[in-house]
Symmetry: C2
Subunit: 183 residues, 2 copies
Amino acid sequence: MSLTHALLGFLGYQPMTGYDLKQRFDRSIYYFWNAKLSQIYPTLSKMKEEGWLTMEVEHQEDRPNRKVYSITAAGREELHRWLREPAAVAPIRDTFLIKIFFGGKLEKEEMLAQLRHHLALHQEQLAAYQETVRETIRQNVKATGQEREGFFWGLTLDRGIEYEDGWIEWCQEAIAKIETNFK
Amino acid sequence: MSLTHALLGFLGYQPMTGYDLKQRFDRSIYYFWNAKLSQIYPTLSKMKEEGWLTMEVEHQEDRPNRKVYSITAAGREELHRWLREPAAVAPIRDTFLIKIFFGGKLEKEEMLAQLRHHLALHQEQLAAYQETVRETIRQNVKATGQEREGFFWGLTLDRGIEYEDGWIEWCQEAIAKIETNFK
DNA sequence: AACCCCATGTAAGGCGTTACATGATTTC
DNA sequence: GAAATCATGTAACGCCTTACATGGGGTT
């Protein structure tokens, strides 16, 4: 399970609650992995039973108590084992490509509308990466001094940017082809 | 549900059995969508109850009977409606990127092994697209005369190739960066 | 007054995979 | 003799999303 190992990864930096972990997801790896709180909480419980985490309750007066999880030696070993294990290529599973594949059923203008809409979405995503995500990484490296880690965070971001760039170019080419040679 | 609409799409070309449909998936769109027979069969049943398909049993002597499904007018309308509906961007969900993100925990050589392995997988995938898939499309257009359809099949393949190319370049750059400036 | 933040969960349902079940014919 | 092809399914399980449940404190 990948969620388990992503949680181990973040807890390798420092002890945290499920709520904190959700925020880490939302602010860093959200563009290639995410989970809802309703999945994170039970997963943390199971990981504790597995012996990969320990938990301590931090009592608070005007807010709900915090359950702070820490990674154990067994947890670090499991993370390291998983990180070295060869990874399979992730399947694409993109419904948009199904729509393109059967695009012969659409009128020229209907198809162009789909493509233009998708182009806009990817352009937005790209802008978010270049502004928000890059800046988040910079601040994190500055605040924690994790330079080696920051290098790898940057690599995943580079891949995200290349991915969006690829989509944008493909959309633009597809639009051009349909506009000029079609119908 | 996207499986439903992919099935409608293929049945829009001609009536088929679940078994035939599985082969269509495996030979054309497998690189961005697929399904097992154990999911296809019950889905076809539901689609029939929904009124999008009709079914006729073709009796065979030495083999199991074939259940041939045909798309109805309602099915075609549903397909068309779905094709026009704006598509959201597919989430990436790539466990390999999680491994990269937490790559600071690995030794230089462990990380290079991961990257080289992944590079090889994407190179294989790319080769398959350029040989097998491109050829399958060519033959299909030739056999059925579906030139307009063939254009869109080609678009999805272009995207697949660009996707693999992107990964290959990224892997090569990542390997180079780690080999020269690291540890 | 309405909404967001903090902080924890449970329950139901959807989509997908893996395993189980059957069985004749053809190909290596 | 073993494996693949044809042809249909059911059952159990895993991962994930959505909805439900609680409730005080701060912000607009």
